[in-house]
Each structure stands twice: as C-alpha cells, then as structure tokens.
C-alpha cells in the first residue's frame, strides 16, 4: 500500500521533470511546444539513466540523437532540392512564458502511450526507458526518421527498452 503511494509520488515527480525537460528542449531548438523527439531528449536527461542505457544496449550513442534530429531535417530538405547547410535557418532558442503546458500531437501521443504503458506496469517507477519504449513504437514522424538516421532498428530499440525495464 505504502509502496504504491511512494511509487505514485515518485512517478508524479518524474512526469513533471519529463515535461519541463521536453519544454526546455523544444525551446532550445526554437519550438514553442514539445513533440515526441523532445520527450526522448528529456528522457535521456533523466537521472535514472535508463534511457541512455537502452541506446547503449544496442551499441548506439544516445548523445547522437540530437544531431540525428537535425540530420533528418537536412535529408528531408535535400529530397526537395534544398541544401539546408547553404541557408541560414538554424533555429534560435526561444523563451516561452506560457503558464499552461501544451504539446504537439506527437508529444501528446507519447504521454498517452506512457499512461497506458504504466497502467500495465504499476510495480515499477516511471523511467526514461519507458519513454524510449513508447517512442520506438512510433512508426512515422521525426523520432522514427532520427532513429533511422542513426542506423537504429526501432524494433531492436523497443526490445532493448523492455530488457532495460526488466533489469531495472
């Protein structure tokens, strides 16, 4: 009983850190609202370290995820004949003074999937590896393309996330 309450309180703290971290990552990259990729970046910064270990398990460097996000933009623009490096549109960090948090649809999808995932996993605290597991299941979008740019197979990453959670 008390263990459940303690876990619940810990999860609430983790959710708060995850959301504020995602907001921060989005703002650093010049975006007002966080999307799925910003939640992954935020999970990689969580102190439990499990998100980073998921990448380690498959021999990928988690620190390369940010540059992979940029790479997938460069690749997508080059497919329409635009040389991203030749134009000055690098994002400028923005300051956000919104009182109420909102996410882009992919960010909302991450939070919804996290909730569902945690419903079936009530004995473990919410960890960064849960976020990676949810993000690895997203077939399309920036996270999927960034993982592809890193040469990561999503199903392999999802399996590594489950293994990390089992060993946590």
């Amino acid at each position: 009983m008390f263990k459940r309450i303690r876990l619940r309180l810990r999860d609430m703290k983790t959710v708060s850190q995850l959301i504020s971290g995602a907001d921060q990552q989005a703002n650093i990259l010049g975006e007002e609202e966080p999307a799925a990729e910003h939640f992954v970046l935020s999970a990689l910064n969580l102190s439990d370290g499990t998100a980073k270990r998921v990448f380690d398990r498959i021999g990928a460097n988690p620190d390369n995820f940010l540059s992979a996000i940029k790479q997938q933009y460069t690749d997508a623009l080059s497919s329409v004949g635009i040389n991203h490096d030749a134009i000055e549109t690098d994002p400028e960090p923005i300051e956000n003074s919104k009182l109420f948090h909102n996410s882009k649809p992919s960010g909302q999808a991450v939070m919804k999937s996290l909730y569902v995932s945690k419903q079936g996993d009530k004995d473990r605290p919410l960890l960064g590896a849960h976020v990676v597991a949810v993000a690895a299941d997203m077939e399309f979008g920036i996270v999927a393309r960034a993982l592809k740019a890193m040469g990561i197979d999503r199903s392999q990453l999802a399996k590594a996330a489950r293994d990390e959670l089992d060993s946590a």
Binding site: A76, S79, P91, S97
Partner: protein, 74 residues
C-alpha cells in the same frame, strides 16, 4: 524555388511528408528571424502583418513576446 521534377514522388508519401514537415520548420524559423529583423528596423506590427498576409493581432500574438524578451535582455 525547387524544380517540380525534384519533388518526392507521390509514390513515396513517407519521403514527401517528411519534406513537408522540414519545410514547415524551415518556414517557421525564417518567419521568426524575418519578423525580428523587420521590427528591429522599425517596421510597425501592421506592416509586418500585411507582409505576412495575416492580421496584426495574429502577428503580434505570435512574435511579440519573444521579440520583447530579446530586446530587454540585450
């Protein structure tokens, strides 16, 4: 403007949609920089709005806070 022939084929919607997302992000960054530059050069919000094809309220709501903050931190 890229040649229409260089656009991703409609047979490959994944690539085409990825390009749409990247173009939107690029347009957003370009808009932010251009508005900041215009306001710094003394343009009014009405002029910025007219150039962007949006209402003055929409332009102001979208950009005023970040521009004000950047000015006060300079």
């Amino acid at each position: 403007m890229p040649n229409k022939n260089s656009l991703p084929s409609s047979d490959n919607p994944e690539e085409a949609l990825a390009a749409v997302v990247a173009l939107r992000a690029m347009a957003e960054q370009l808009e932010r920089k251009a508005v900041k530059s215009a306001i710094t050069q003394g343009w009014s919000w009405s002029q910025v709005a007219e150039a962007l094809g949006v209402t003055k309220q929409a332009a102001h709501k979208r950009h005023a806070t970040s521009i004000k903050k950047q000015k006060t931190t300079q």
